[in-house]
Amino acid sequence: GAGVSQSPSNKVTEKGKDVELRCDPISGHTALYWYRQRLGQGLEFLIYFQGNSAPDKSGLPSDRFSAERTGESVSTLTIQRTQQEDSAVYLCASSRLTRGTGELFFGEGSRLTVL
């Protein structure tokens, strides 16, 4: 697609429920990132996928968070048993670089509100 697409754009859920967020990267981009942005704060790295390599999960805050990616396409971020502190905007980004870091192209984000 023309840009990184994320869905849903907004999600309101009750504490304890599971949520699934989806990211469709730019076609041909092998690298995919998930970041979290709490209100008024910078972006917090969650997870990185590069082609068929094992993902870098070092930023996932707890075992309630998991993510999958099928090949070089869509990724889903799942948060189980949501807590109020999970409320944030979850941003997905993709890059065509296969090594190191260059320009990341970001989606519009999924705003999660946990009541």
Partner: protein, 109 residues
Amino acid sequence: EDKVVQSPLSLVVHEGDTVTLNCSYEVTNFRSLLWYKQEKKAPTFLFMLTSSGIEKKSGRLSSILDKKELFSILNITATQTGDSAVYLCAVGVGNKLVFGAGTILRVKS
């Protein structure tokens, strides 16, 4: 722990003013430094810097990196209300970008 610190946290200027935003970093495996502009949701790319002392320019925006002193500045001249945004600095460390908290810039007409 890798750290990126931006200053000031926020500032308010009048149209036509020049502003300088600062970014300092302490990271283990520096690869690059990037500046992004975030207006509503998706951050948009401004610059990527990898070498010290080489200024990058795009219209009224310019940026430079000092790898010895571990900082970068982003300059905006002749500011306009459309420059109002959060400016994010990020450092490439290994395979990821480590972001600062951002500088909130508000340009008053």
